[in-house]
Amino acid sequence: MPADPTPHGATAAGAGAPASLGKGAAPQRLAQAALRDVPWEVGVAKPDAAIVVDDVTRTFGGLTAVAVDHLEIQRGGITGLIGPNGAGKTTLFNLLTGFDQPDSGTWSFNGRPLGKLSPHRVSRLGVVRTFQLTKALSRLTVLQNMLLGAQGQKGEGFFRALVPGVWRSQERENTEKALELLRRFKLDAKKDDFAGTLSGGQRKLLEMARALMTDPEVVMLDEPMAGVNPALTQSLLGHVKDLREQGMTVIFVEHDMDVVRDISDWVVVMASGKVIAEGPPESISQNQAVVDAYLGAHHDAPLTVDEEDRVLAEAERSIAQEEGTGGDVIDPERRPRHGGQR
């Protein structure tokens, strides 16, 4: 894992899309500049909030997974969401994107309430997410994975699907767009391969690229670096920064503090379901509440491969239970998913 927080990554990976660099520099500075005068306190108001969360709670059988009083996410910035295991980060993601329903609370996107919306509606509004465990669609090709992301497809209706003339030209446009994105993510050579044959890192890239096919305003990345080999980490980081250059709002969950320091404009720290601190990256390591929360927790350092596998298995199980799709495989110790990393 990279310990060097120099901005090489951005330029190295951004080379794939040089056009975005020039126009992108300004919004980044804007977000940073806007956040400069914001006090480092929990629940502080942001100058231009894309997402506002109010009094959201979610409990599981008496255990409080999420209890967030107030949280605002700055538009056009990269917000890092960190916290020890079980802090409620993924649950918060699930709530915000409609994959889970809270016990109470409201949240809104661009002033529009998102509570009670199903996941696909949230996504259509422009808030798209990725998953902690990549959800590459194994038996579809990389290009088909990408095309799935395109919005408003005429051929996705049952009856119109039967008349190719209706959707063929749109399909051609989407294919061009998908190939363009694949080139940017250096996956174009793999476009006709089954997604299941990709490595773990390539799947993360594919999932991010697929999310971009929806032309989102807000991109929520759940541990985009988990399980990715170090060589690809820099490239992924570059792509995340790229999103900001293009004016998107990015929220991401990450355990690796170096990564968080490197790319975040703002960091939100969660523990036991609550937001315990927020502020620019440099403020976090000095925060006493954060240090306390991490004491005894084992995720303030990069993971070893073994740890990572175990964490993945745990997380996978808990997510599966949470989403009611558990027990997908009769023995999770031997899931074929890890095949790509072997």
Binding site: T97, F99, S118, P119, H120, R121, S123, R124, V128, R129, T130, F131, K135, A136, L137, S138, R139, L140, Q144, N145, L147, L148, G149, Q151, Q153, K154, G155, E156, G157, F158, A161, L162, P164, W167, E171, F194, G196, T197, E207, R210, A211, M213, T214, E323, G324, T325, G326, G327, D328, V329, R335, P336, R337
Partner: protein, 332 residues
């Protein structure tokens, strides 16, 4: 040797008869549901039952025209799919499996029950509803015809012909659907429905469409069977047929347009060949009567289907023609 050729001819006839059409249509429906969308419908026979009885009750009991019966049967299948889908399609896959298997058994018990007798005529079932359809045949249905060394009644030939046309049209429909963006969405749902949700697709609606379409195909299969046999009894629609269709689907290759058709034909061929062959061997005394009596042969078929399903899924989950690498990617 002559007996072997006879057995072969009889098996060949079974592979192209209306029973194979019935199985192919069930399997084509399952292919949409299970092969492409990943839905576990373990009660496909319930849709077939509604299709068959839709015609039988409409014509024999209510005196309606044949084609109205067809519409009623299809409507009943759509209704059942909606009833099953609404509660279960938001839940994990096994809930649909349990609900469908329960429905298949429940509907059959209901149709054969004493209280349903005024409508369904109980266990004895209904007959005499297919004359209007048979009368449409362009040849004399009372005659017998020679085909591939076996004798066919004109009526059987007509039902089989119409049935295979139906199968061909279904294959065309499947082909059109699965290569469209609609097909891409349902295949993605099979792989990981949450990923599809996160990309703004209403997964529930797609699953429902697949369930309804597959159910309608099942109902068509049931109609072909009822019209072919000329009667509808509840015990024609035992749920073992659903699993026979699964075996055919997996044998021919799931998620392939022609997989279920090839599988159904092969399945009937194998079953009939084994059946006739075993009976011959028993009557010749090659297999001693103590070990296996002629009456046990009918059960042997289900034993073989069960064994075949297990062996296929353990050793060749991709079917006989499929590509194993693709199946190995299946994380489910």
């Amino acid at each position: 040797m002559a007996e072997l050729i006879d057995a072969f001819a009889i098996a060949l006839k079974a592979a192209i008869g209306f029973q194979a059409v019935f199985l192919a249509l069930l399997a084509l429906g399952l292919n949409i549901q299970f092969g492409y969308t990943g839905l576990l419908n373990f009660g496909q026979i319930a849709f077939a039952l509604l299709g068959g009885y839709g015609i039988a009750i409409s014509v024999s009991q209510w005196g309606l025209p044949f084609w109205v019966g067809v519409v009623i049967g299809l409507a009943a299948a759509v209704l059942l799919a909606l009833l099953l889908g609404i509660p279960t399609l938001r839940l994990r896959a096994d809930y649909l499996a349990i609900a469908t298997i329960a429905t298949a058994e429940g509907l059959r018990l209901l149709f054969r029950s004493v209280s349903a007798t005024p409508v369904t005529n109980g266990t004895r079932g209904l007959s005499g509803f297919n004359q209007d359809f048979i009368a449409l045949a362009p040849w004399d249905t009372a005659e017998r015809y020679d085909l591939l060394g076996t004798r066919w009644s004109g009526a059987d030939l007509w039902v089989a012909l119409v049935g295979w046309v139906l199968v061909a049209l279904t294959c065309l429909l499947t082909w059109l659907l699965v290569r469209s963006p609609w097909g891409r969405v349902v295949k993605s749902i099979r792989e990981d429905e949450d990923a599809v949700r996160a990309l703004g697709k209403n997964v529930y609606v797609y699953k429902m469409q697949a369930l309804v379409l597959g159910g309608v195909l099942g109902a068509l299969g049931g109609m072909v069977y009822a019209v072919g046999t000329g009667s509808a009894t509840p015990d024609q629609y035992q749920n073992a047929n659903t699993f026979l269709a699964y075996a055919a689907l997996i044998l021919g290759g799931a998620a392939r347009v022609l997989g279920p058709v090839v599988g159904a034909m092969l399945m009937y061929f194998i079953i009939q060949f084994a059946d006739t062959g075993l009976r011959t061997l028993i009557s010749n005394g090659v297999i001693p009567e103590d070990l296996l009596s002629a009456t046990d042969v009918a059960q042997i078929r289900f034993v073989l289907i069960g064994l075949g399903l297990i062996l296929l899924l353990v050793f060749r989950p991709q079917g006989i023609f499929g590509d194993r690498r693709e199946v190995m990617l299946d994380a489910r």
